[in-house]
Symmetry: C2
Subunit: 154 residues, 2 copies
């Protein structure tokens, strides 16, 4: 196969048309990686979560990495990797417009996270939904695309 | 939707039947996440890579996290997260049997990584294949399964 580097713009375009990624954060020397849904806009990935380990870790260390890919086969895939910084969008007046933007962007992509929709039962008890909206500021981005090698003509 | 915790055994069973995951490692406070193909056997994920950033980072800090999932929709998915430790399988006599096991396990899953198969052209020049075989020793595993909520009968 051939692996090609994607341009900065092609990598951003890929982020803009996808919504599922994997977010890595770290506490001390221990990394942690979880799947996230996000919506890309203007150098930021917007998303939300309920409070939990990853939110606590990112509040303590905002350096993160997000990988998004489209793997059709082992030799036909796209993978984009973002280094970025966690920024919480707290429910206070000065962040209202950014929270509202996050809400709109996520709503455009999917309804799955609507409050009434995500009743979650864990350990036999219902977990209340306390959404934490946040965004990842993209500080570095790289993308690679693999394609099957064309014939053997020299 | 309902999110259920998977048992330790169900989580391992899931790892055993999948092959694509995302591996997170960290250097200092900076995490890094990349897709990997692996083959699970006896508390270890076997895989290989050419030398590069993730190998250098894991040699310096062996603590890693691997996430594997099957996302059919936003409310029908499985996600398994492993905390583990990087162990290189160097090309020396005392590691020969483990390298050979890694080779056999990976071969059973896919042929994509066969040396003649992965001629890689990056930056316009051919990158030689210098495979680094390694395994992740699973020290902790958690799995969650989401299913759509059954009706509204109380």
């Amino acid at each position: 196969m051939l692996i090609q580097e994607m341009t900065w713009q092609a990598s951003l375009d890929f982020l803009a048309r996808t919504q599922l990624g994997r977010l890595a954060c770290a506490q001390g020397a221990q990394p942690y990686v979880v799947p996230i849904y996000f919506s890309y806009n203007n150098d930021h990935l917007y998303t939300f979560s309920t409070v939990g380990q990853k939110i606590e870790w990112m509040r303590a260390n905002p350096l993160v990495c997000v990988e998004a890919d489209e793997v059709l086969s082992s030799e036909l895939w796209i993978s984009v990797i973002v280094f970025g910084r966690f920024q919480e969008l707290p429910d206070v007046p000065e962040w209202r417009s950014e929270r509202s933007l996050a809400h709109d962007l996520l709503q455009r992509k999917a309804m799955w996270w609507e409050p009434g929709y995500v009743r979650t039962i864990l350990h036999g008890t219902e977990r209340p939904l306390v959404p934490v909206f946040y965004r990842i500021h993209v500080t570095e981005i790289t993308g690679h695309r693999a394609i099957p090698e064309p014939g053997n003509a020299v």
